[in-house]
């Protein structure tokens, strides 16, 4: 798998660390407990297109939002996390 880092170009999977599902949004600090449990523990876990965070640990160290297919591993693009895809 090759991930297109916006800073470093197309780089090998081995340079990256998986952070996890990028579709979950951290609730505000005093949100109800249920919102926190939901954020921490519940995942859509799609079979197909997924948005996820990867850190380019052996490169620029940026955290990226990568859009990837969980069956074919095809990658549809990567942007800096926190910016719109």
């Amino acid at each position: 798998m090759l991930i297109p880092c916006p800073h470093c170009g197309l780089r090998d999977l081995a340079e990256f660390t998986y952070v996890g599902d990028a579709t979950r949004n951290r609730p505000i600090l005093d949100a109800p407990e249920g919102d926190w449990a939901d954020y921490l523990y519940l995942r859509t876990n799609p079979m197909g297109r997924h948005a996820e965070h990867w850190q380019h640990t052996a490169g620029c160290r940026s955290v990226l939002t990568v859009r990837r297919d969980t069956v074919t591993h095809e990658i549809f693009g990567a942007t800096m996390a926190g910016t719109q895809a």
Partner: protein, 418 residues
């Protein structure tokens, strides 16, 4: 037909050409008293115990592919009960006791081999952690022994126990009753035994939707037609999220990840136990055919592909050679992957609900093979009685929201790390 030494001899003399089918090729009925979705180890044991312990014999196992094609036939067959949390210890120790009786109970040789599982320690801190875990096990009546470096060396002649090793070994812990089994035989043995009790095993029968009556689930739509039942148990391992989505649950505390397994070319007897590396993640044993069977970590990112990546293969090979330098020129014969249901705390879910009429069995991570008999025993109880058995009372789905997670290693909600 009962298997015995006479049936073995008779079949050997006729060229093994006359063995009958081990279970019927059943045709789906329009309705049953209960349906179990997923014909892996857990689905089959569930059906077996529903029939045997709870008298529910008008039931079906609905399997998308063939019996033995899922993780039950893809794992590295390690069976152990060396956990630290009492809820896990008790559950997996029930499993261990059921393994000890399984071949007799099923009249089917599952080749359960209590060859011991040795966990290696490379630091004194690790030895302390093993002492703590071993004591926790012994308090639950489970066998555990610490080993010195000399004892480890005597048990594993090929192992590099020298000070030159990349991660020198200082000792280990063994669970002597732990071991391995023939995984396919487990699937076939339970399919045959459930079939004998009247259970319909429906292969090539994928569930494509659920039938509802109000908010209740009252059956399933399948590739072989609609099948109704007042109780539907789901035990589909890596495909839990996709199936539960069809029941209206969009999110669960589960992610699907791929784990690879490896088999080498056959060798003369080298390893007569199961041994795990302590400075990384590698477990290795030797099959009766001589091949080394080994595996390591999951690939580490959500995956529904039943195939793995290269970095893990390289990593696992490097670990194996750092433990057993004499394997450096060994060739790999086969390797494959399986899709697993990694839960958010590394422990399983066996529960009633979350939709009326539905029952859930999931979250087995990569330790679900050893759980096969205990999981079916507890899930059958949960389905038949509409409440968990004492041994799965801690495995409920609401434990996440309630803050009662069962996290053996204290890792937190990162399924790729469990």
């Amino acid at each position: 037909m009962r298997h015995s030494v006479f049936s073995l001899v008779a079949n050997a003399l006729t060229g093994n050409a006359r063995w009958p089918r081990q279970w019927r090729a059943a045709t789906p009925k329009p309705a049953y008293d209960a349906i179990v979705v997923g014909g892996g180890g857990h689905g089959l044991t569930t059906a077996y115990y529903l029939a045997k312990e709870h008298g529910l014999t008008n039931i079906a196992v609905v399997e998308k592919g063939w019996i033995g094609g899922g993780n039950v036939g893809r794992n590295t067959t390690i069976i152990r009960s060396n956990y630290m949390l009492p809820e896990n210890s008790r559950f997996y120790e029930l499993g261990m006791k059921l393994w000890e009786e399984m071949s007799q109970e099923l009249n089917y040789n599952v080749m359960f081999s209590q060859r011991g599982v040795i966990n290696l320690a490379h630091t004194s801190a690790q030895m302390d952690a093993f002492a703590r875990r071993g004591n926790a096990m012994r308090l639950e009546g489970i066998d555990a022994e610490l080993m010195t470096r000399e004892e480890v060396a005597a048990r594993l002649p090929g192992l590099d126990v020298s000070d030159r090793a990349r991660f020198p070994i200082v000792g280990g812990m063994i669970q002597p009753r732990a071991g391995t089994a023939r995984h396919d035989a487990v699937a076939w043995g339970y399919a045959r035994a459930a079939d004998k009790l009247g259970v319909d095993i429906l292969e090539n029968c994928g569930v494509t939707g659920f039938i509802r009556d109000g908010d209740r689930i009252v059956g399933v739509e399948t590739t072989r037609g609609a099948i109704r039942a007042p109780k539907v148990g789901v035990a589909v391992a890596g495909h839990t999220s996709e199936l539960m989505r069809l029941a209206g649950l969009d999110r669960l505390p589960i992610e699907s990840h791929v784990l690879q397994a490896f088999v080498s070319e056959p060798l003369k007897p080298l390893i007569d136990t199961v041994v795990t590396f302590g400075a990384g993640h590698l477990y290795i044993s030797q099959s009766d055919k001589g091949g080394l069977v080994f595996g390591g970590d999951i690939d580490g990112y959500n995956s529904y592909a039943q195939r793995g990546n290269m970095p893990v293969i390289r990593h696992v090979a490097a670990e194996a050679v750092s433990m057993f330098p004499n394997l450096a020129r060994l060739r790999l014969l086969r390797h494959w992957g399986g899709v697993m249901d990694m839960s958010m705390d590394g422990s399983p879910i066996i529960d009633v609900g979350p939709v009326p009429g539905l029952y859930l069995n999931a979250g087995w991570c990569y330790g679900g093979f050893k759980a096969t008999p205990a999981s079916g025993f507890c899930f059958a109880h949960t389905i038949a009685r509409d409440e968990p058995h004492a041994l799965n009372a801690a495995f409920r789905l609401d434990r996440f929201a309630a803050g009662r997670t069962l996290d053996e290693k204290g890792i937190g909600p990162s399924p790729q790390l469990h």
